[in-house]
Each structure stands twice: as C-alpha cells, then as structure tokens.
Amino acid sequence: MKTKQTLIERAAAMPATTWHFLNMNDVRIEIPEDLAIAPKVRVFEPWASHGSRDEFENALADAQEAWELEHPEPTAEEQRARAELLEAEADATYGGTAQSNYQVQADAIEEARSLSVAFEHGMGDEVAAYLRYAAEDRVVISAGPGEKVNAQVLVSSVQGGVSVAAIDVVADEGSDVELSVVVDSEQDAAANAGADRASQGLVGTTVRVFADKDARVRVERTQALQEGFTDIDDMGLFAGDRARIDVRQAVLGGSCAYAGLAGDLRGSSSRIEVETRYLGRAEQVRDFNYSLRHHGAKTRCNLQANGVLADKSKKTLRGTIDLVRGCKGAEGSENETVLLVDEGVHNKTVPVILCNEDDVAGNHGATIGHIRDEQLFYLACRGLAQDAAERMFASAIVEQAALDAGSAAAREAVVRLGERMSPGFAELFEGADDDR
C-alpha cells in the first residue's frame, strides 16, 4: 500500500534552467507523511562555542552594514544617468536586450542590495524550511575572533522517523572552525528487510556557515546510511573578506541522497572549495546541486566531484558558478569525473557557468565514461580485467573515504558501511593508522 507523501517539487533548482525534456533543472522529493519527527542528534563541541539562537542572523546583519559602507547606493544623479543610458540603449536596440527569466531574477537579486536576500540554501528555501522545522532545535557553533573550534555533530537514522539537525556555524574574524557531520545508521539498527524501502526514514542536515574576515571553516559531511533511508544535505555558505570555506562530502549509503550547496563569495579574496565523493550502487539515487556566486573581487571557487555509478544507480549533478558583475579578478572552476561501471546506470551532469563580468576566469570540465585506456592496460598487466578494475574503483570510493575521514566518528561510520558491503573491510582499513 502506498502511503501518503509530502512532495517538494522543484527542490534544489539550478538558477539558470534549460530544456525540460532533460529533467535536470531540479528534483522532486517525496517525504512519506507517516514519518514521525524524531531527531536523534548528538553534538560534541567545546561548551564555550555554543552560540545564541540568532547568532547567524545577527552576523549577517552586521555584514550587511559593513557591506553597505563599502558599496554605497548609487546617487540620484548616477541612477538617473543609468536610466537614461538604458533608455537610449532601448531606443537604439529595439526595446533593449530581451532577458531570460533567470537574467531578470539575477538582476533583481543584485538590485535588492541585501545579503539576506542573496543568501541561498542549496536545496532551496522550501526544503531548508522543512528541515529547520523537523530539526526542532538549532545547533549554533560559534567561534570568537581568532578562536579555534572543533565540533562534531552525529545524526542517526530513525526507523520510521525524520531525524534532522539544523546547524549554524558563525566564525568570527580570524577564527578557525572544523565541523565534522556524520550521518549514519547505528550498528544495532538492523536492516529492516522487506519493509517499504523509501519509507524507512529520512535523515538530514541543514547547515548555514557564516565565515567572517580571515576566518577559516572546514565542514566535512560523511553519509554512510543503511539502505532504505533518504538523506537530505542542505548547505548555505557566506564568505567574508579573505575567508576560506572548505566543504568535503562523502555520499556513500542510503537509498536517495540529495545534496544542495549554495555559497555567496561576498568578501574580496574569499574562497570556497568543495570536494564531493560519491558512490551509487543498486538502485540508489544521488542528486547534487551546487550554486556558487562570486560577488567579491579576486574570489576563488573550486568544485570537484568524483564518483562511481554501478548497477542501476542514478545521479544528477547541477553545478553553477555565477560570476556576478563586479567580481573583478574572480576565478571559478568545476570539474567532474564519473565512472560508469554498469549498463543500467544513468548519469546526468550540467556544469553551468554564468558570467556577467569580463575580468574573470571560469572553466569547467567533465569526464564521463569508462576507465581510461592506459589505466585499463596498467591494471590488466596486474591481472585485473575490466570488470575487476571497475569493482576496485567502486570499492575504492569507500576506502578512500575511510582513509580521508577527518574524525574518528566519520571513519567508524564509513568502516561500518564498508563492512556491510564487503566483510573484512574493517580489517583492511580500520587499523591503517597503526601502520604508520
């Protein structure tokens, strides 16, 4: 029997859309209505870093004031001159340039001159609002000027429930924050064989990061859920002058995993680096939406996604780099490598660059397909035929995630998933540290 679903249409939409027949512009998320709100969240952080509820809003409001000082509103004179110019242009060019919906919207965002209007959630406002509602409470991690904070948030799946954490990170000037988010099914939560897989439960996080001048924030999110759970990873980032935000995601388990990340590179010389690693097996669904907006001068962003799709898994990646007028000297790049190892897989990629500024460099690349010929020959010389090589690439995603895990909890979660995939995994990787 089909249970009633809450639907979120057009979640994680990319800013500039394309042909509908491709079905890539956004994603439709189904949430069974009979799931109970039951957040199971554990937070490990130094007591001193616990911030107040509206710390993020306050930080953004302060940033707004500072930004306005640096970017005064055009004078009436300037506005008039601009209007005249536009009018003259419209006369000369048959009503002015016809814009697309996106271009109109993008201009409206800039004209609002508001950091909070420009601040976006990668999953879209509707999903973010749902997650905040489901989280019940908010974890606020705050680092004072120059402070160093290391925090962990563990979110566990709940059978038949919605387990969500809402996290704000507010990093003051020159501070250093490291946040490890682990989304996981606990060991004793036995697989519920035969149950309707999609209705097993929903796990999610919505993370907002405010990185003030010279702050450095690292967010690592590791998802190693059991089959049957849906995962929603929502992030919104704000980077002030010279701030640097690094996000590392590992999407390994669960059934459907949605990840959306939006970032505002507002401060000059700010930088956002996103590295995503994913594995799709069985009938898993992976959906990624990235949207990074360069506002500040000399800002940098880099998106890296590497994944392996096996069996009948499906994946969509929407990656948008938006070089907004005024971001002189900005550089944005995105790169994706997808290895398709089975006939039944389905991969969609749309790496978008939007550019409204000439003094910039934007580039993207995507490589989709099979193992490169020279690698395949090398591996064959070591006795690995194509299918064995492909299996190795697939399991290497999990192994590399175990090796790179930034916290013990993250590593344990990955190792547990690895062990479920292939018994003996733990022995190979758990003690890798001892060897050094």
């Binding site: 500039a16 859309t17 394309t18 042909w19 509908h20 491709l22 890539m24 512009n25 242009e89 000369a92 060019t93 048959y94 009503g95 002015g96 340039t97 016809a98 814009q99 697309s100 919906n101 996106y102 271009q103 109109v104 070089l323 007028r325 005024g326 997808v338 398709l340 190892v341 089975d342 006939e343 897989v345 389905h346 991969n347 969609k348 990629t349 749309v350 790496p351 978008v352 660059i353 939007l354 550019c355 409204n356 500024e357 000439d358 003094d359 910039v360 460099a361 934007g362 580039n363 993207h364 690349g365 995507a366 490589t367 989709i368 397909g369 099979h370």
Partner: protein, 479 residues
C-alpha cells in the same frame, strides 16, 4: 507599377555607427507596395488561405490545421530569452512577393534582383556554386542549378514545387518527422504557416563537388518567414549546402521560424553551413535537425551574428552505427542582442561519435548563451562525444552563459566536456602594442584570432565578411 524606394540607413556618431554600419550592406530595403500580404495574426482561416493559394495536397492542409491546434495549446518555453517583444497577433505570416519563381536572374523583378545583387548571390553563383535558391519573404523567387548537377540526378528545387513532383511521396513520408509540431511552440507555428524553402535530393553514390546555396531574405515589415528546407542525401552521397539569411532593420519585430530537416544515408556526408545575419529586430526561432544512418556524417558550420533574440540548436540524431556529427559554431552578441545558441546531440547507436566546438563573443551589453544537450541512449555502446566551448567577454556590461547538459545512459562511452570563459588578456594586448600595433587593432586581432578556428570553416566569402563584421563591431569599442 509603383516606384520602389531604397531606404538606406545612415548615421552620425561613430559609436552608434558601429551597430548600424556593420549591417549596412543588409540594411537597404524596398517598400513592399506590390507584395500581397495576408492579414496579420493567426487563425484557421489564414492557414486555409495559405494552403489554398499554394494548391497543396489535402494532407498538408490537415497537417497545418493540426499544427495550429498544437500551437494554441502549448506554452512558450520558460528558460530562454524573453519573446515578449513579439506580438504574434501582429506578425504577418504570409507575404507573397510580386513575382513567381524564376530560373534566370533577368526575369526576376528589378527590386528583388537588385537586393540579391547587393548581397552578392548571383556573383557567388557564377563563381563557385552548383545551384542557388533565393527566397524573398514567403516565396522562392529564384531557383537554378547547373546542368551538370541535374544530370547527376540531383534535385534542387522549391519544396512546394516538389510536393507536386516525382518526390511528393518521399516528402510526405519525411516532412516534419524530425521536427514534429509537438516539439515546441514555434515548431507548431512553423507546421501551420510554413511557406517556401528548398528541397534537395542527392541520389545514392552521387557526390557534388560544389555547394548548393539557399538565401533567405525577409524584406517585409512586421512579417514572419517560415521556410522549410528538406534535404535527403542517400547512401554514399556527398553534399555541401550553404544557407544565408538577412533582413533590413525595421522598428517592429520580425520573426523567423524556419525548419531544416536533413536525412543523411549510410556512409553519406553532408556539410551544412549557415551564416545568420538577420537584422536586430528579428526573433530567430529556427529549428534544425539531422538524422544520420550508419557511418553517415553531418557537419554543421554555424555563424550567428544577427537577430534581436535567437534560439538556435541544430540537433544531430546519430541513429546508425558509427554515425558521426560535428558542430562548429560562433556566436557574436552585441548591443541589444540575446543570442541563445548551441546544439543537441543524440548518440543513439553503437560507436557513434560527435564533436562540438564553439566560440561565443559578447560586447556592449549583449548576451550570449551556449546551451547544449548530449544524450547517450542505452544503445550508444562505444560512443564518444567531446564538447568544447569558449567564451570571450569584451566588457563588463555584457553576459556570457554556458549551460551544457549531458544525459548518459550507457556504460561504455567517453563523454568529455570543457568550457572556459574570460576576456582578452591584457598581456596579449600589451605584447602586440609593444610591437607598435595600436590598441584597437590589437584587440581586433585577438578577437579575430579567437574566432579563427571557426571562421576558417565558414564558406570563404562569408569568412571574409565575418572578419569585417568583427572588425566593424570592434571599432569604437574602446574609449
């Protein structure tokens, strides 16, 4: 007979001159006093009347009426440039010039002949073309092919004429099968009001060494042009087809919603070159598609310079094993232009391959978007596709967007995509200036160099024209 008047646009200041001068050679126009126009707007009556005037077979009228229904039932897409400036109720869908189709230029009325003379068509025909078709508003006014080509069994004629000839059944079996009226709103519109266009048939094994060219001129104010081009290149045959288009500038919108359907047989080869240079009041919503059978090859060469709004994505459907497609395109968007161009590729059979190389330039507030889709179906085993797209921003008032989508449903494929965006490097300008070259010239040289890999693929006389276009567009761009 009424006296025809030439109106040539002239202008004063250098800066505004740029936009005008560059298309000066297209910007003369004749009053369409003699032309027969149908009422503006779109009703079943108008559609019936178009069909009746053409004395078409019944299936075509049916097709038109069905298409009109579809047109009225579907929405305009929401992702591209706005077409709000296009008031369909005021677009004249059918304008018949004051002449029937001729096969020698001397019989073509002076005003129309003069138009094509200025565009250099008869001269090009004499020097290197195997055949020419010229359309003026809604109808072909001239069609001619060298005898040698006719002897090879090649058919090159108006498509309407062909509907009554030996190939009528063949046309009926192919017409709007690649571009069904349901595809999008303007495909439906095309299906309802199409008029004019060429039909080309190249028999098995026949290879034509010289290109055929069709030139489309939209002269009437506030009108639409909806020509249909159908080309069938049979197995092992080879053809190069060139399409050119232009229009004088008016202060109301004109619409071009043509359709091009190409069928490339086994091991056959077709090169389809287009230079689109519509005036800047044109909404160009053209649809082009090609289907390639086993080892067939389609080569698209596409230059987009004109139009107020452009939607253009030639599509290659690689339906047979080892079929190949290549797309080489350049788009130059200046003041007041929003050109949304690119291509679509379907890898639909084993071991197919496609390569896409495009360059986009935007300046003076112009918007240039590269949009593409590459779909590899589960049948595409062993296929490859590479897409490379470079955009150049000439100032910070313009916009260049790149929206490439890939949908891959097959394991053993190689799909690569790369795109870059940026401006003219100051270091390059400095280098050239240090060698005594003025800044403006240096920039022009760099832009020409950027466009060169594409422009060298364009038919020769157009390549020269394009370089001039870039030069003129660049003039006054500084300071």
């Amino acid at each position: 007979m009424a006296e025809n008047t030439i109106i040539v646009t002239t202008s004063g200041k250098k800066r505004t001159q740029v936009a005008d001068v560059d298309r000066g050679m297209y910007d003369f126009r004749y009053e369409d006093a003699d032309a027969e126009k149908l009422e503006a707007g779109l009703t079943p009556e108008i559609v019936r009347e178009i069909s009746e005037r053409k004395g078409e077979p019944a299936w075509m009228l049916e097709h038109r009426l069905k298409s009109l229904e579809i047109y009225n039932s579907i929405e305009m897409s929401d992702w591209g440039p706005s077409i709000d400036g296009l008031d369909m109720d005021n677009i004249v869908t059918y304008v018949k010039p004051n002449t029937d189709q001729k096969s020698d230029w001397d019989s073509v009325p002076d005003n129309i002949k003069d138009t094509f003379d200025r565009l250099g068509i008869p001269e090009a025909e004499r020097s290197y073309l195997a055949g020419v078709g010229a359309q003026y508003d809604s109808e072909l006014v001239y069609h001619s092919m060298q005898e040698s080509a006719a002897k090879m069994g090649i058919v090159y004629s108006g498509i309407e004429e062909a509907l009554h000839g030996d190939y009528a059944d063949l046309i009926q079996s192919k017409f709007m099968t690649l571009i069904p009226p349901t595809d999008h709103k303007f495909a439906a519109l095309h299906g309802a009001v199409w008029s004019g266009g060429s039909f080309v048939y190249v028999p098995k094994g026949v290879r034509l060494d010289y290109p055929l060219q069709s030139y489309f001129r939209l002269n009437a104010k506030g009108a639409g042009q909806f020509e249909h081009t159908l080309i069938i290149v049979e197995d092992d045959a080879d053809l190069h087809f060139i399409e050119g288009c232009s229009a004088p500038k008016y202060n109301v919108a004109n619409l071009h919603a043509g359709a091009v359907e190409l069928f490339v047989g086994k091991r056959a080869h077709l090169r389809y070159s287009t230079i689109e240079n519509w005036s800047k009041n044109m909404y160009n919503l053209n649809t082009k598609r090609c289907r390639c059978d086993e080892e067939g090859q389609i080569e698209w060469i596409s230059g987009s310079f004109g139009s107020h709004v452009g939607y253009l994505y030639p599509m290659s459907i690689l339906a047979g094993r080892k079929a190949q497609a290549s797309f080489t395109g350049i788009t130059f968007a200046g003041s007041g232009q929003n050109l949304d161009t690119g291509c679509k590729v379907v890898l639909g059979a084993p071991e197919t391959s496609a390569s896409v190389e495009t360059k986009g330039i935007s300046k003076d507030g112009g918007i240039q978007t590269f949009r593409s889709s590459v779909v590899a179906t589960p049948a595409a085993k062993g296929s490859r596709c590479s897409v490379s797209c470079q955009s150049l921003m000439l100032d910070d008032r313009s916009r260049s967007d790149t929206i490439p989508a890939m949908d891959i449903r097959c394991k053993n494929v190689d799909i690569g995509h790369e795109a870059t965006i940026g401006r003219i490097g100051d270091d390059k300008v400095f280098y050239l200036m240090s060698r005594g070259i003025g800044e403006e010239e240096a920039r022009t040289m760099i832009v020409n160099g950027f466009a060169e890999p594409i422009s060298k693929e364009l038919p020769l006389e157009y390549a020269v024209e394009m370089n001039n276009l870039i030069k003129l567009e660049m003039e006054g761009a500084i300071g």
